[in-house]
């Protein structure tokens, strides 16, 4: 090292200044750059129908919605699911991760469907004319999901939303529609869609066929879907504006096509066996096992409801022999009498284990025919009815299901119950009687559940015998009873909504049925006892954080909602959105 430094040694300061040179870049052309900067895999222009399918599929592909919102929140809150070992008061808090439907709407469902409409709107006039029916149908699904997002959030951006991609109307900071304004807007758009679809087109219309996951391009069915969604909006308006609800209902009933009028026009997505895009559709994920609620199971069993075997599995203790073994070994009280059934519900009240017999909670371990078995007294749900891939044994082992599920948006039964309720409340001029509508609804629901259970290959599927419907419709509590018609309609709608929990929840919020003080099918009163809880009614509204670009619009919308005393604190999930009037 010393040798080296000696070689370069100098006696005085050297000061070297480097000048600079200029080299003009040459060679690369801009068009070459444009080509280089475009992903060879990118799809830059597409026919709108190809994107339609993605937007529609996204309505059903959000598995966080299934797991957190449906399985861990809404179903337990409304006593549709009860934890197999009982509930705690935490069951009625937010399990966290709720409301993924918000991002699903703005980044997937809505972003795609709005883009479909945008792609149509920028077409040359002659081509645009061929797409008007598709455009109208696209708006119907967009309206549905906006309705669905608003249902638990209240005010949401809609009219001004989704515009970031479009340079001409680029809006990064959308204002919010109040729920009231949203309903008006959606209803007007649905009417406009119906008008287009009922018109005689000036040119032949392009069909979305296979890209239309619900109706395969059958526009008559889309008119029925739009009319049915209008009815659904009308139901939400019953308390806030009965006059508006009546006007919508009567317009729908007078429409030349009308709402969904049979099983063949139901707004339902038919999935495949492995339809579980996010991997969280399984209700048994994270070690959860679910039972039904005691009173609801009792009602269905007593009334011989054929849907019971599609919604619940028989308890492990489903023969007198097993029952006797458990009883002889002290696992069941000596005084308990064999109930001749395998269908038993669980107690939903938090900490019910303190007040109800212990055998309702947790497995009973006893010896049966020489081997030790671990058996639950209560019956757990038919998991495959909502998740077709489910193993035949939720406690481990078993074989995976090979069936598939249906994902209903609006069914014929749903429409019948809506019409029955409107007529019963004197809010429509429906030409059919309440009884006809009620019985059609029950019949349609039972028929659907049989079809869906068959497709889902539920455990020990038994086909429906048509006589079962007749029997059921004559049973006490089910046979139409004008004096209790409203409760009967709502209770039947509640059972029908087992696979559509957001609607079941809305029904309970809207009507109070099934009620703990009801005369037909009760649910438990959770407001008393050692751990009183209150059923949540909406989601936590997230106040914007600092740095949120849309802080002002969001804060304004939230503060406006807070002005309604029923709304409560933003984090209070027992608060109410606009339609959910006390």
């Amino acid at each position: 090292m010393n040798n080296k430094t000696k070689i370069i040694q100098m006696k005085k300061i050297s000061f070297i200044i480097l000048g600079f040179a200029v080299a003009i870049m040459s060679g690369c052309s801009k068009s070459q750059f444009a080509k280089d900067n475009t992903d060879p895999d990118a799809v830059l222009s597409i026919p709108p129908e190809k994107e339609l399918a993605s937007g529609l599929l996204a309505i059903h592909s959000n598995s966080l919605d299934f797991f957190y919102d449906y399985h861990l929140a809404i179903r337990p809150w409304i006593q549709s699911f009860v934890g197999m070992s009982g509930n705690s008061s935490n069951t009625f808090n937010s399990p966290g991760n709720l409301n993924s439907r918000w991002n699903q709407f703005y980044l997937n469902v809505g972003a795609n469907l709005v883009d479909v409409i945008h792609l149509i709107d920028i077409m040359p006039a002659d081509k645009q004319a061929q797409y008007q029916f598709m455009r109208a149908a696209t708006r119907i699904s967009l309206a549905y999901f906006a309705f669905y997002v608003s249902d638990v959030n209240g005010s949401i951006p809609y009219t001004n939303g989704f515009q970031a991609r479009y340079t001409i109307r680029q809006i990064l900071l959308p204002t919010y529609n109040t729920q009231e304004n949203l309903y008006d807007t959606l209803d007007a758009q649905l009417q406009a869609s119906i008008a287009v679809l009922e018109s005689t087109p000036s040119v032949e219309q392009v069909s979305p066929v296979g890209n239309d996951i619900y109706y395969q391009g059958n526009y008559t069915n889309w008119i029925k879907a739009a009319n049915s969604l209008r009815l659904k909006i009308a139901m939400r308006l019953i308390k806030r504006s009965p006059a508006k609800a009546t006007a919508i209902a009567n317009a729908v009933l007078l429409d030349k096509v009308g709402p969904i009028d049979g099983l063949s026009s139901e707004w339902v997505f038919e999935g495949t066996n492995n339809f579980n895009p996010g991997g969280n559709n399984d209700p048994n994920n994270n070690g959860h096992i679910w039972a039904g609620e005691k009173y609801m199971v009792d009602f269905m069993r007593t009334a011989k409801d054929p849907r019971i075997r599609n919604i619940y599995r028989q308890s492990d203790i489903n023969t007198k022999d097993i029952f006797d073994s458990a009883q002889a070994q002290g696992k069941l009280p000596a005084a308990l009498i064999w109930d001749t059934t395998g269908y038993r519900g669980a107690w939903a009240a938090p900490n019910a284990s303190a007040t109800q017999p212990g055998y309702y909670f947790g497995p009973l371990n006893f010896s049966y025919k020489g081997s030790t078995i671990s058996a639950y007294w209560t019956s757990h749900i038919q998991e495959r009815m909502i998740y077709a891939q489910e193993s035949s044994s939720p406690f481990g082992g078993g074989t995976a299901g090979t069936g598939y599920n249906y994902f209903p948006v609006i069914t014929y039964a749903d429409v019948c119950f809506m019409r029955a309720e409107l007529k019963q409340r004197g809010l429509s001029n429906d030409p059919m009687t309440v009884k006809e509508l009620y019985e059609n609804g029950v019949t349609a629901s039972i028929t659907d559940y049989d079809k869906w259970a068959n497709a889902a290959k539920v455990y020990q599927y038994t086909p429906l015998d048509a006589a079962e419907i007749t029997t059921y419709l004559s049973m006490p509590g089910v046979a139409f009873d004008a004096a209790n018609a409203l409760e009967q309609i709502c209770d039947q709608a509640f059972i029908d909504f087992y696979v559509n929990p957001n609607e079941a929840w809305a029904l309970v919020k809207r009507t109070g049925y099934p009620s703990s003080t009801g005369k037909i099918m009760k649910l438990e009163d959770l407001s008393t006892g050692s751990s009183p809880v209150v059923m949540p009614r909406r989601y936590v509204i997230t106040f914007p954080v600092l740095g949120d670009l849309n802080y002002q619009n969001a804060a304004d919308a939230i503060n406006a909602m807070k002005a309604d005393p029923g709304f409560g604190e933003i984090s209070d999930i027992t608060g109410r959105v606009w339609w959910d009037m006390p």
Partner: protein
């Protein structure tokens, strides 16, 4: 030197776009040497002054948004009924919308440096001061998803980084058989966010649930803020106006389980202004970084030891936080027994429904029982808070400190299990409780090497053959993280990351190395 260059990443697919920028620098340096014979004090001196200016683009393809992706069929998941064509659907695949008028970024750096060597090269000093201004940064800026995208790529933001780097090397001993050389490095960087796009004051850098790092205008980059931090008490007068109080700034308390258990409130559930709902916890940036390397050579043996250090800056650890809820960490021993700091107290006589809960309170404690696993909270009860008293009655504890409420019998020390579970649970926990200072001094590497004598290597036609035994990440000489958390296990390498996740331990590695040259 200067040249104009360009980046294809700013050219849009319709071939518009401003994509060229000037790249230039000036550098002046001087070299100063003293005669060796005259003083030997300073052998060599160099002064550097430089300024350079550079530009840049973004990554390929990102400016061309509006592009679509192919749906599930091509990822081999038949999600739909096979007979239907919609399996081959197309969806919007880009959620970052690039503005259509992006320009190249610009960074200018001024630097002054002094390099000195003296005492026959046994002492060396290298000092650098730099000031770097970055502007027109291409930022993927989060926008409300309600606009249909989750971010936009825009030009904006101005950040300055100033700092010093000092390197000191010295050779205390150097003789024929033995030498010891040592080198100390010290760096300190001060950064400041001068402006952000759209005139906003905050930009999120990295986030965990309810706690995040942000760039805040006028402040250091990487400030830790938390909606799920402790709420900070603010006294109010009868009209709801803020008033001065010695209690202001203390954590805020509430009660749960029918007012039987006191808990800390989250800031977002208490604050009435955005700042109070998401308080600043502190900076995640280090005060300084340093390292020290020593080499000892004795004949053919060389021993090297390398120590490095990071001092200052906060970190949030999910391992530490959720480990508390599970009671799995050593630090949760505190309060479990009297010996471990537990406070002695008598559980409440209360049982909400004597018929159904004859022997247990909500949190599973037997009533009227003396326990010694109590933990005193530190804070002030929020307005409107009721506390279950030892008399079985509820009392208004608004504005009272926990200590005061306990002394009145209107609050009870919290049993250790419920204290840890509630404060660290996902749904209600105070993430700020999982924050600690991230300072450490690590014995990063020690190696012992042996150079085989030339007489041996020449026989096997080698110039040099060196065998060494080395160990990496040997031990933390100092670690401010609690419970032996590995503070360097950050969840990603982003510049705003201060989040430890997953509990991956500090991994020591030992090895044998053979270096040969021919």
């Amino acid at each position: 030197m200067a040249e104009t260059t360009g980046t294809s990443t700013l050219v849009y697919n319709d071939a518009h776009g401003k994509y060229s920028y000037l790249l230039w620098s000036r550098c002046c340096f001087g070299v100063y040497r003293f005669m060796e014979k005259q003083t030997r004090f300073i052998d060599y001196g160099k002064l550097r002054v430089s300024y350079n200016s550079a530009g840049g683009g973004t990554t390929a393809y990102t400016t061309n948004t509006g592009a679509y992706g192919l749906s599930y069929a091509y990822t081999n998941q038949a999600l739909c009924r096979s007979s239907w064509q919609y399996c081959k659907s197309i969806f919007i695949s880009k959620y970052c919308f690039a503005k259509s008028n992006l320009i190249p970024t610009h960074t200018s750096t001024s630097e002054i440096g002094l390099e000195l060597r003296g005492l026959d090269n046994r002492l060396g000093l290298d000092f650098t001061y730099y000031n770097k201004i970055s502007e027109n940064q291409l930022i993927q800026f989060g926008v409300p998803v309600t606009s249909g995208v989750s971010s936009t790529l825009i030009n904006g933001g101005k950040v300055s980084n100033k700092g010093v780097e000092i390197s000191l090397s010295f050779t205390p001993v150097r003789n024929k058989d033995f030498s010891w050389t040592s080198r100390i490095n010290f760096t300190k960087n001060l950064n400041k966010v001068l402006s952000l796009p759209y005139g906003v004051l905050y930009q999120q850098l990295e986030a965990e649930d309810g706690i995040r790092t942000v760039a805040k205008v006028g402040a250091e980059y990487g400030i830790l803020v938390a909606q799920y931090g402790y709420a900070r008490y603010q006294a109010k007068d009868a009209n709801g106006k803020d008033i001065a109080s010695p209690l202001n700034g203390q954590p805020v308390l509430s009660t749960i389980r029918d007012n039987t258990q006191a808990v800390y409130l989250r800031a977002v559930n208490y604050g009435t202004t955005p700042d109070a709902q998401e308080p600043v916890i502190g900076s995640t940036q280090p005060k300084f970084m340093a390292s020290w390397k020593n080499s000892f050579t004795y004949k053919n043996f060389t021993i090297e030891a390398f120590v490095d250090a990071k001092i200052g800056g906060l970190e949030y650890s999910t391992t530490y936080f959720y480990g508390h809820a599970a009671g799995a960490l050593e630090s949760t021993l505190f309060g479990r027994t009297k010996e471990l700091g537990g406070v002695t107290y008598t559980t409440l006589p209360y049982a909400a429904n004597p018929n159904s809960l004859p022997t247990y309170l909500y949190n599973g404690l037997k009533p009227n029982t003396q326990r010694d696993d109590g933990i005193m909270l530190s804070g002030v009860f929020a307005e409107g808070t009721m506390g279950m008293g030892t008399d079985g009655q509820k009392h208004d504890v608004s504005g009272m400190t926990f200590e005061n409420a306990v002394s009145k019998g209107w609050a009870t020390p919290v049993d250790a299990m419920d204290f840890y579970v509630y404060r660290a649970r996902w749904g209600s926990g105070i993430r700020e409780a999982g924050v600690f200072e991230n300072s450490w001094v690590s014995l990063r590497q020690v190696s012992i090497g042996y150079n085989l004598p030339r007489s041996v290597t020449s026989k096997i036609k080698m110039n040099n053959l060196r065998v060494s035994v080395l160990g990496n990440n040997l031990i933390y000489l100092y670690n401010s993280a609690p419970d032996h958390i590995n503070p360097e296990n950050l969840s990603n390498s982003g510049s705003g990351n201060a989040f430890e996740r997953g509990g991956v331990p500090y991994v020591r590695s030992m090895g044998v190395k053979v270096e040969a040259s021919f």
